[in-house]
Amino acid sequence: MNARILVLGIFLGGGFTPAYSLAAGEDDSAEFFRFMANEAKVITVASVKPETVFNSVSNITVIDRATIERYDFASVSDALRIVPGVLVVNSFGIHNIVTFRGGLQPHYANKILVMLDNVPQYEANTGAATDVDRVGIDSIERIEVLRGPASVIYGSNALTGAVNIVLRKAEALGREGTVAGGIGSKYGKFQGDAQASRAEGVYLARGKDWSYHLSAAMRNQASPAYRFSDESNTVSDITEHYNARSFNFNGEYKRHALLLNLANTEQSFLGAGLTRATGLGFDEVDDLALASYGYTYAHDGKKLKYTAVYDKQRRHVPFSADQSALVVYDGYRVQNNLNYSADFAQDWDLELGGSHEYRKSLHVANYNRLTGMIVDEQGMAGWAVWEGSAFGQLGFTKDPWKAVVGSRYTFNGSFGSNISSRGSLIYAFDDRRSAKLVAGQAYRAPSLVENYLNISNIVLGNPSLQPERNRSVELSYLQSAGSFFGQVTGYYAEYLNNIYRAIGHFTRDGVNYSGANFYTNAGKITVKGLETELKYERPRTHAYVNVGYIVGSHGDSHAITTPAGPAQSYLFKYVPLYTIAEGVSQEIGPFFATASANHFAGMETVHTRLAEQYAAHVSLGCRIGAARHVFAVRNVTDRSVVFPEYVRERVVESIPLYTGRVFEYTFRYQF
């Protein structure tokens, strides 16, 4: 999202605060320059036609720094759980899959676009943006969440929405930073096992025409062990865990900007064949590298911005008990973007842009770590696709109306062309009430794996796949009254050409395959939903209640065969009818307490039905000088909270989100 969103933070009380004071002996000129520098920032915000939550053209939720600290979110995926319409779930192979409006992602988490400082990142072979936690939580200034189709501005993969993780920047001239650490329990209850759960250092600096962010983070997240029984009825104790290490650099000098993110994640994997022999309970490892250079030229209300992106991701999935046999997904993306925006008359603004992207598969292959040899290429080595697109967006503002229309034309070397459009109409009753009507389209290009995979002529990609599409219309009403803020959004969406794996007869390149497992497009799925947000904000007391309600049709229903017998499967079978996220935070002097919870309606698995569930968390803490100490209990009731296993559709009916109570102590020191 663009810099305009910054003002949302100001409105919601999380805005920047000049952090200078006149020390004894400093002269008046230094104070005056600081005053001018801070006022200059305000002019920049005012000049970029600031959007508040009331007049932004999309339905955006901003989780700012103050909210992150107030509710003691340990990670990005933790924070995203409070947003209505958003689910953060696990599948057999991946943790923390962020899903918007029921768009479950069967094999690869590729239906939302995840960006870091507006730089898109996803794996070249699969389109997956699985590692939202590739940045430590203390490095983050805010998380911007846009629900609904967003391809006009962001292109492919923003099918059901987009998440933008914004890194912290120094607000005032000078230096500042954070050092944080934590210890967490490992096996639950009071068994005495603990581990370093968090370590993070953030260093920010700003000069007259430069600034930089430097940070490194480590996060170890483990749930208490639980008993798991595989197809062979072999019982073992599995510890779900997700560990991440990251390094970030974001530097700006005059018109130039540089972003670098390096990350390594390890997460537990429930096995390719759900038996201990096929990697169950061992580590899936991702190595990620994202680099971006940007150049911005701004003059007299017009701005031209060029961005170049290099995104390399490699994922290793264990295939054997000794982890010598792996499946490796290795690829890279190169992207160039050029954007132009201008206010060309008093009431009109224009944004134009173009993008070119090249996605290359290096390997999707079975790999032997001991010999260093590729065993089976799975038909992917060397495949590549390019995609070019251009978009335009025109806005008109005449109080109390604001209208924005835009369209993106895309040509993809694999599937051909696509046009996605969006229109927004906003009516401001006054500065604290508004209504919005948004109608939009989005698409997701089939990934290289979905097009070209060939695993022993059994699992096959389909070069004839059409892009997934989403078209939706939504109506929102927003109001702020005193300390309360509320937003309600109703929407209707159609998911078209949903890509999934079917089993049956398949023909590819003139070759017939019988009983193949192949990628294909589904029919139409219609979705209706309601999302409500209610916030209460006072200087020392805060609370929220967010509710998401969603119903989807069975347009993609298909028969499946499982060891437990035949069954029907469709996307919305596994989506809860409603979710509720609530939280409250209270400060008393230097002390503070937070409580939060997530409720899920009952859900269906392949063969059974899960009852309503919830997970609740509490934190107690205090501030001593510049340090902040927090003691947290996550999943206080020590219950197991599970989600339907909707990918493998056999043996395992559900996957744990929480397996027991976890204790954690963290400290954070600001300097």
Partner: protein, 293 residues
């Protein structure tokens, strides 16, 4: 019931806090400060002292004024850009560069940090009686109406105003070259946040000394740092003026969109003036003027 056990403490905590809370008594006038440091507290203190009545003061980030506040005084740009009730009169001060950019849809008045045009030129003319052509360095688009007033005032004093374009500190050297070509007698740097940086100040000061073109600044501190003189508006004066306007707003008066402070302070740096080729006569200075030797 069991499933809601965990929710009960949440609800109890929330409702107990809400029930126990006594919201502060609403006041007719509320002051909002962008920060607890900088010039804002001094202006706010002067405002409260001059007004001599109950004022609720908020420092950002904090609760914004209630809809019952009839007058809201915003100290600083961040405070001025908040969303306030439409029915309230907003008095924005210490927010240079925000004239014409306020978001408030109700009545508002903007207290400029620049002196009234005639006042500025009179003071500069006092310091430099031979002043015939004054260059004004500012972001022209934001200064359009002030420049127009300045030109009118200048016409009555026999001073021509020239305004070389400079939209950012990068453009200051080109603007200085332009005013040299236009044979300006002096330069005045407006309190424009998009131009006033430590670097641009050093550039202008060096230019002034190298070319014998006196340089006038908007604040006392910059006169001490090397400008020949400064015609400045103190934060205390801004606060005092805000109080006067607040009284008038409460009395139902319609206020002008922009108000320029009439009271200013003159600070003269004799050494810097001499380096810029200007000899300031002691007779030209009054007892209230500050002289830096």
């Amino acid at each position: 019931m069991t499933r809601y056990r965990a929710a009960a403490p949440l609800a109890l905590l929330l409702f107990a806090r809400l029930a126990a809370a006594s919201p502060p008594a609403a006041t007719e006038i509320e002051a909002v400060l962008s920060s607890a440091s900088g010039p804002y507290p001094a202006a706010s203190d002067s405002f409260v002292k001059t007004l001599a009545r109950e004022v609720t003061t908020v420092r950002l980030p904090g609760r914004l004024p209630a809809a019952s506040a009839r007058v809201i005084v915003a100290f600083g740009g961040e405070a001025a850009l908040q969303a306030y009730p439409k029915s309230s009169t907003l008095i924005a001060c210490l927010s240079p560069g925000l004239a014409g950019r306020l978001l408030h849809s109700g009545p508002f008045v903007f207290i400029a940090m620049k002196p009234a045009p005639m006042r500025l030129l009179s003071e500069l003319h006092r310091v430099q009686p031979g002043l015939k052509r004054l260059a004004v360095l500012s972001h022209t688009r934001d200064m359009a109406s002030y420049l127009a007033d300045l030109k009118r005032a200048g016409a009555s004093l026999g001073i021509e105003i020239i305004a070389p374009a400079a939209r950012s500190p990068d453009e200051v050297p080109d603007a200085l070259r332009a005013l040299l070509a236009a044979k300006a007698d002096a330069v005045w740097l407006a309190p424009d946040p998009s131009l006033v940086t430590f670097e641009s100040f050093q550039t202008i000061k060096q230019f002034a000394w190298d070319n014998d073109v006196p340089f006038y600044a908007p604040t006392r501190g910059l006169a001490a740092a090397g400008a020949a003189a400064a015609v400045s508006v103190s934060p205390e004066e801004v606060g005092r003026l805000a109080a006067e306007l607040a009284r008038r707003a409460l009395a139902g008066e319609t206020l002008p969109a922009i108000v320029y402070p009439a009271r200013t302070e003159l600070t003269v740096n004799l050494q810097s003036a001499q380096k810029a080729g200007l000899r300031i006569s002691p007779e030209a200075l009054g007892k209230d003027d500050e002289v830096i030797k």
